[in-house]
């Protein structure tokens, strides 16, 4: 199958690689129907977030169809359409049970740091989702089925950047009426703005320098229905 493979700082390649196989009973294999490129991938390729292992498939955003499941994945069937969360959690450790899936004690074989697809060694060096297929560890916990009413174009935003924007607004402890400043109007910044409005923020100040991104932040005020 084809996949985007990391070879070094500034060196990524589209290559033919071996198809993933089920390794653990909680794994699933998902045929990817949509993936995406994230700013985090750029940090990794630029070298400003170091520690990538040569040969790792990049990408942590994916939507797809379940093709195969391990015997402990009882909640999903072949053919289910799912969104893949970027971070991996076991679902049973104390952190996952409190909702801190990104601080899972068990998902990262290299330690206790956040486990995510297509990331550095200290984050587990899991093969990523910019590929035709992917092995999803703890698929019984992570994968969420999508209703037909959510298109792939909308769903791919749910894999990482919309939840991250929402999480950012939650971390900021925003209450109705609060004023808020968003530094950076890239994809995640756009979803921070959407989420701030969902949570009732008053005035929002968007800071960037790229005209099209500032314009998108302004247009967002009109295109999301809840406003």
């Amino acid at each position: 199958m084809r996949a985007v493979v990391y070879h070094g700082t500034g060196d990524i390649r589209l290559e033919d690689v071996r198809e993933p196989r089920i390794r653990e009973s909680t794994d699933a294999i998902v045929r990817i129907t949509a993936s995406a490129i994230c700013g985090t991938d750029l940090h990794l390729v630029r070298g400003t977030v170091p520690g990538m292992k040569r040969g790792t498939i990049l990408g942590h955003e994916g939507v797809g169809i379940v093709e195969q499941t391990g015997r402990d994945v009882r909640n999903l069937c072949e053919g289910d359409r799912v969104v893949i969360p970027s971070t991996i959690g076991c679902g049973v450790c104390s952190y996952c049970r409190c909702g801190y899936y990104s601080q899972c004690d068990n998902a990262n074989p290299r330690g206790k740091g956040t486990a995510f697809f297509g990331g550095p060694e200290e984050n587990g060096a899991f093969d990523g989702l910019q590929a035709e297929k992917a092995r999803i560890p703890f698929a019984n916990v992570g994968l969420v089925k999508l209703p037909d009413t959510v298109s792939d174009d909308d769903a791919i935003m749910l894999s990482d950047i919309f939840p991250t924007g929402y999480f950012g607004a939650k971390l900021a402890q925003v209450k109705p009426g609060d004023t808020a400043a968003v530094f950076g109007c890239g994809p995640v910044g756009q979803f921070v703005i959407t989420s701030l409005k969902l949570l009732g923020a008053g005035r929002i100040f968007a800071v960037d320098t790229i005209a099209s991104r500032l314009e998108m932040a302004r247009a967002g005020r009109r295109s999301d229905r809840f406003q």
Binding site: R2, P85, T87, V144, P147, F167, G186
Partner: protein, 179 residues
Amino acid sequence: MIDFNEEHPVAAIREMTRGIGVDRAIDAVGVDVVRPHSGPASKEARQKAGSYKSELREIAPKSHPRNGNWNPGDAPSQALEWAVEALAKAGTLSIIGVYPQIMKRFPIGAAMMKNLTVTAGNCNHRKYLPTLIAMVSANIVRPSRVLTKVEPLQSVLDAYKAFDQRQAGWVKVELLPAA
């Protein structure tokens, strides 16, 4: 909307909040901050250029820019500094832009003196997915408004390069493995 190459973002926010600053600030940039190169904020950033350079040496000693691609940002802690300065007293800073494990610079003194709450972390995606899927399904939010390019996986390397250069129109790139 504040363009940091035209206005000083902290001054603009202070002015528009009657000097108070904002209750909440979110850093959605992370380590690859590009500093202002024109306008009123550029002078201050130029004075700090040396210090930003040494920060960059600490965190990314092995960057390999080539042909205008893969350039690291030139002011790793700039977004954090602005956010802390723009906040009102007792405000909250939320950091979701990605910083590497080894990044150590943060304006702790200024944050302390203003009684700020500082929060940070990697998203717990799975926690929010059911809520957000329901909102999208109910047409409350249309996330694909942020999607600006759909490319076959075959064109992925060109897509990476255009996105890396923050070219106009390259905000979010979807890749289709089957196309």
